[in-house]
C-alpha cells in the first residue's frame, strides 16, 4: 500500500514520462493529470523548456577526439605487444648456469632421462671450484635476529665480567645493595665496599 507521498511521486513520474513521450511523438500537448499539484505541473513544463542539452565547442570536441584516439592507439599497441609475449610464455625451470654446464660436460645422464638418478650425485663428484654457487639471501629478519643474538651475548659477557675500576665496582655494589638491603645503612655499606674494592 502506497502512502500519499509515494503515490504523488508515482503520479509525477507518469506525468514526466508522458511529457517526454509526447515530445518524441511530436504531439502538440502533453497529457495532463488533473489531480497533480498545478505547481508541480508548471515546474515540470518550465524545467522541460529551460534545461536544454548543451554541446561543447567544436574545437573541444575534435581536440578530445584526437586525444582519445591517441590514448586508444597506445592501449592497442600495448595489447599487441603483450599478446604474443603472453601467448609464447612458458614456465622454465630455474637452473644454475654452471650446474647446467657441468651436466652437459659430464657423462651423467639427465634426471628426466633416467628416473631415480639426480643432479645432486653429479654435483658431488665435481671439484669444489666447479660446483655451482648457492644463492645467498639476505633477509631483514635474519640480520635482525643475528644482531639481537650478538648483542645478548655481549651484554651477558659484560655483566658476568668483574670490572677492574673501583668506581664501576662501587656502582654495581650499590645497585645490588638496593635490592638486598632494606636499610639505608646497608646500601651505604655496599657503596663503601664497592669503593674500597670489596666484592660482596
Amino acid at each position: 500500500m502506497l502512502d500519499g507521498g509515494a503515490r504523488d511521486a508515482r503520479r509525477t513520474e507518469r506525468f514526466l514520462d508522458g511529457i517526454m513521450e509526447a515530445e518524441e511523438r511530436g504531439a502538440a500537448a502533453a497529457p495532463a493529470d488533473l489531480d497533480l499539484d498545478p505547481g508541480v505541473l508548471l515546474a515540470a513544463h518550465e524545467l522541460r523548456a529551460d534545461l536544454v542539452r548543451v554541446h561543447p565547442s567544436f574545437r573541444f570536441e575534435e581536440g578530445l577526439a584526437s586525444r582519445l584516439a591517441q590514448t586508444g592507439g597506445r592501449m592497442q599497441r600495448t595489447r599487441d605487444d603483450l599478446e604474443p609475449a603472453l601467448g609464447a610464455a612458458s614456465i622454465a625451470p630455474f637452473r644454475v648456469r654452471r650446474a647446467a654446464a657441468a651436466e652437459q660436460d659430464s657423462d651423467v645422464p639427465h634426471p628426466q632421462a633416467a628416473p631415480g638418478s639426480g643432479v645432486a650425485p653429479a654435483l658431488r663428484r665435481l671439484p669444489l671450484s666447479g660446483r655451482p654457487s648457492r644463492p645467498f639471501v639476505f633477509g631483514g629478519v635474519g640480520v635482525a635476529s643475528a644482531a639481537i643474538s650478538i648483542g645478548a651475548v655481549y651484554v651477558a659477557w659484560r655483566w658476568s665480567r668483574a670490572s677492574q675500576t673501583p668506581m664501576v665496582r662501587a656502582v654495581r655494589a650499590a645497585r645490588s645493595g638496593r635490592g638486598g638491603h632494606v636499610s639505608g645503612q646497608g646500601r651505604r655499606a655496599g657503596g663503601l665496599h664497592g669503593i674500597f674494592g670489596v666484592m660482596p
Binding site: 509525477t12 518550465e46 529551460d50 554541446h55 592507439g73
Partner: protein, 213 residues
C-alpha cells in the same frame, strides 16, 4: 534497439535483453580506436551534465575529458548488466527497450568526477556562471547560448536544490533518463528517486511562484 539473447548459465536461461550500445562497446573493446563512436554519441549528454553541475564551461570541459578518458581506459573492466534496470520487486519484468548499461556506467564515472570537481571548487571557489558568461568568446555561440539558458529562472531554482535532488533533475530533464537509470547512476532505489524528483519539482514550483508573484 535491444535484442533478446540466450545465456548459457541457468540464471540466464530466459531471454535477456541486452542494451542498445552492445555493438559499439564490443567494437571499442576489440579496437580502442572505435571508442570514438561511443564518445560522439554521449558527448553532449556528458558535457551537459557536467556543465549544469559545475556551471562553468571550462570546468565542464575538463570534467568531460576526464570522464571519457576514464571510460576509455576502464572499458575492459565494464560489465554489461541488462538486468540492472529490472525492478527488484518484479524479477520477471523485461528491462526497458532502450536501456543502456554503458550509459549508466558512463554517468557513474561522470557523477564521481563531477563530485570531485565540486569538492575541489568548494576549497578553491571560482566565479559563478553568471559572471563567467560575460567572458565567453564572442564566436562561441554554444557557450553564450548555454550561459543564457543556465541563467534562466528555472535553472536558478534548480541550482538552489540540494545536491541529490539537483542531480536527479538534471539526469531526468537534460539527459532524459528513466527513473530506473537514474536510480542506477545515483545508487538509490527507484522509489527514492521518484520521491527525490517529486520533491525537487515542488521546491522549484515554490521558488517560481515566489519569483512570479
Amino acid at each position: 534497439m535491444s535484442r533478446p539473447v540466450f545465456g548459457s548459465s541457468e540464471e540466464s536461461a530466459r531471454p535477456a535483453r541486452l542494451d542498445r550500445d552492445r555493438g559499439l562497446v564490443e567494437a571499442a573493446r576489440r579496437n580502442p580506436a572505435d571508442f570514438d563512436a561511443l564518445y560522439r554519441k554521449y558527448l553532449a549528454q556528458v558535457y551537459s551534465y557536467a556543465f549544469y553541475e559545475l556551471r562553468d564551461h571550462h570546468a565542464a570541459e575538463d570534467a568531460t575529458e576526464r570522464i571519457f578518458m576514464q571510460a576509455l581506459t576502464g572499458l575492459p573492466r565494464f560489465e554489461e548488466r541488462a538486468d540492472a534496470f529490472v525492478s527488484a520487486g518484479d524479477p520477471g519484468a523485461e528491462p526497458p527497450a532502450d536501456a543502456s548499461t554503458f550509459r549508466v556506467w558512463l554517468f557513474r564515472i561522470a557523477r564521481n568526477v563531477v563530485a570531485n570537481e565540486r569538492r575541489r571548487d568548494r576549497r578553491r571557489p571560482v566565479s559563478p556562471l553568471e559572471h563567467a558568461s560575460g567572458l565567453a568568446a564572442a564566436d562561441d555561440i554554444f557557450e553564450s547560448a548555454a550561459a543564457r539558458e543556465a541563467g534562466s529562472a528555472a535553472w536558478r531554482a534548480v541550482a538552489r536544490l540540494p545536491e541529490d535532488r539537483r542531480r536527479a533533475v538534471i539526469l531526468r530533464f537534460v539527459d532524459e533518463m528513466s527513473t530506473a537509470e537514474i536510480a542506477e547512476v545515483l545508487g538509490r532505489s527507484e522509489g527514492a528517486v521518484r520521491v527525490l524528483l517529486h520533491r525537487a519539482l515542488r521546491s522549484v514550483a515554490t521558488d517560481l511562484r515566489g519569483r512570479f508573484r
